[in-house]
Subunit: 418 residues, 2 copies
Amino acid sequence: MTYIYVMRVLLIILDGVADRPSLKIGLMTPLQLARKPTFDLLAAGGVTGIMDPVSPGVPVGSDTGHLALLGYDPYVYYTGRGPLEALGAGIELGPMDVAFRCNFATVSDDWVVIDRRAGRISDEEAELLASTLADLSKELSLDAELVFKHTVEHRGVLVIRGAGLSEKISDVDPHREGVKVQMPRPLDSSDNARRTSEVLRNFLVKSREILEKHPVNIERKKRGLKVANVLLPRGAGRLPSLPSIKERYGVKGAVIAGGAIYKGVCRAAGMDVINAPGATGTINTNLDSKFSTMIEALCNYDFVLLHIKGTDSASHDKNPELKARFIEKIDSALGKYLEKFLDDVIICITGDHTTCSTVGEHRGDPVPILIHGKGVRIDDVNKFDEISCSKGGLGRIRGLDLLNILFDLANITKMYGE
Amino acid sequence: MTYIYVMRVLLIILDGVADRPSLKIGLMTPLQLARKPTFDLLAAGGVTGIMDPVSPGVPVGSDTGHLALLGYDPYVYYTGRGPLEALGAGIELGPMDVAFRCNFATVSDDWVVIDRRAGRISDEEAELLASTLADLSKELSLDAELVFKHTVEHRGVLVIRGAGLSEKISDVDPHREGVKVQMPRPLDSSDNARRTSEVLRNFLVKSREILEKHPVNIERKKRGLKVANVLLPRGAGRLPSLPSIKERYGVKGAVIAGGAIYKGVCRAAGMDVINAPGATGTINTNLDSKFSTMIEALCNYDFVLLHIKGTDSASHDKNPELKARFIEKIDSALGKYLEKFLDDVIICITGDHTTCSTVGEHRGDPVPILIHGKGVRIDDVNKFDEISCSKGGLGRIRGLDLLNILFDLANITKMYGE
């Protein structure tokens, strides 16, 4: 009988870690600027390359990017951000429910958006606001049930439940500031879409009334802070139907992430969600807690995805210097845990997309990738950054192929044919 | 009228030549270890790259791998290994015939598999056993005709002919040792599948009776060798319907190979099979005979595929050292013929998949490829191995594109568009 040495797979996704060179930091990228001995050591002892999450030049979102990295073609499987956020928030989603991603935001008296993130309101304040909205469906005496749940900072999820609903509803969030909130419109001529947009409109008007006079906002106003006086739903959608990674690859997987969307994509893929204490999905996340949780997860799962968000946030804030410093923090925190798993794990470090800290947005440039572990063909690249990795032994790959590559290296994949 | 210089194309496939670094040979791959001036000379004067036979991270079999390298997407065209083996064994296969790949194997009294290869029984012994089974269908007074043919070593092919058959039959070969033979089961509820599995079961039981008391086995038992007392069919399938390479590329092709499966795939593609005396499909094959036959074939065909198997066998036996030595043998044998064809031929050397000599199995890592000939863009890679070729001018390509690339370089391919 043939003995096959099967290994675990660890995928560390540094959100939006890839960048373009910035004049602010000497025409380097944050990865080129950062001192990162751990990543460079893994690059030197492994194989590197560049990867297009979906396809070359296509900038992806957090949702479509992560779907692709888990092997799901988003052009086939993506049904909107709302349901993935809802799954990530721990909501049990029925196949007929319609889910929306929501922001707490600040609007003027005549509904002009002043701040899409309500002055990046704290988790504690947002929780208090959310709890007041819990019984709103009863109060509105709707025959649809409304579930609102706060996730991280200004973010939350709204789910509408009941018969005769539709996900063909326009975004309320105008995606920019200085313009009026767009009241929801049905996107087709069905009764269900009309009805759903009415339910949503009632919710928006009523919830604004409640939020305006909420003690949290009165206190914020006193302190000169922006009030969270409105909810901006977007990304209406229903539960996507994904074959699980267990079905596809025969592996048991888990995710460790702060943000809801990442947990949601992984839950949709049939993976378990493991909470690391202090994992906030922000630049102040507890990295030590995340890495030690990861080590534990590697004992119980074939496949562990660890997601770190702060790199993306620094890029959206157009701060390549801060991004480089945060990369250094991650590198140093990971370094302390390296010897605990290096021998028996196929480890892959990459990003889900490029976030350009010059324009402050996701862009479609490829991301650098490194893979380290037993049996990996070691190339001569010894730095983990966008330029160095483009000369690596993996060449240029696609996100959809990533799990096949990793599970093959871990000797998990079965042969196709004879 | 434009004069176009049309060249011949020679594709040398070293089966499973690609590998992963192995500690046994200083963390090198067998290609990195081997002294191979001929391959390196061709790499230096040509263009190199890496190739995914089907797609990144997907380990392929001999059948699916060769289909892909000949431009046939196995997800579209593959109908099982059986019919391809049968074609390769020289059997004329009708569209309704059901064909199985078979192994002579050793089983205990209660049908537990002891050796799936019957102690790698010799060709001569297997031939004698096979001839006894020739008239078995008459003896069994079946209304289906059974054709059994020995191919190489422990390998053979079984074809069932007649009305009302089905290929929806489970593998009898359990694919591992220490477990019981799985009697054939119908894989759907059709009468044809039930009937076919009964015919096959009768054949298995009756052939075992005959094999047990065969003089070859009595003699083997006396000498302490494992007996070939059972046949293990697998890979039931019907003739695939492939557009020929003549239709697709306008070329006349031929194959030189020892193993039946490689001849079979090429016959299915409409290529001629040329037998080289002493080509056994093993590590003891007569390389000189193969290369001189190849030179002759290049005079008569636009496209010649030369297949060499031993590299794969050495990897399955987890012997990277032997694999490197065999690569050196091939390199040196080819070197003697180089000047006879180098000027007028586009020559491509590659593998059909990675066979990892650490785990002893096919894996999904890409394979190195070199292309040499007039007009080829010469890159600066001067070694033919997995790591060096990953820096080559071809980048990372797919097996399905290989023949297009080669026939284009040979100036055979017509323009698409105007």
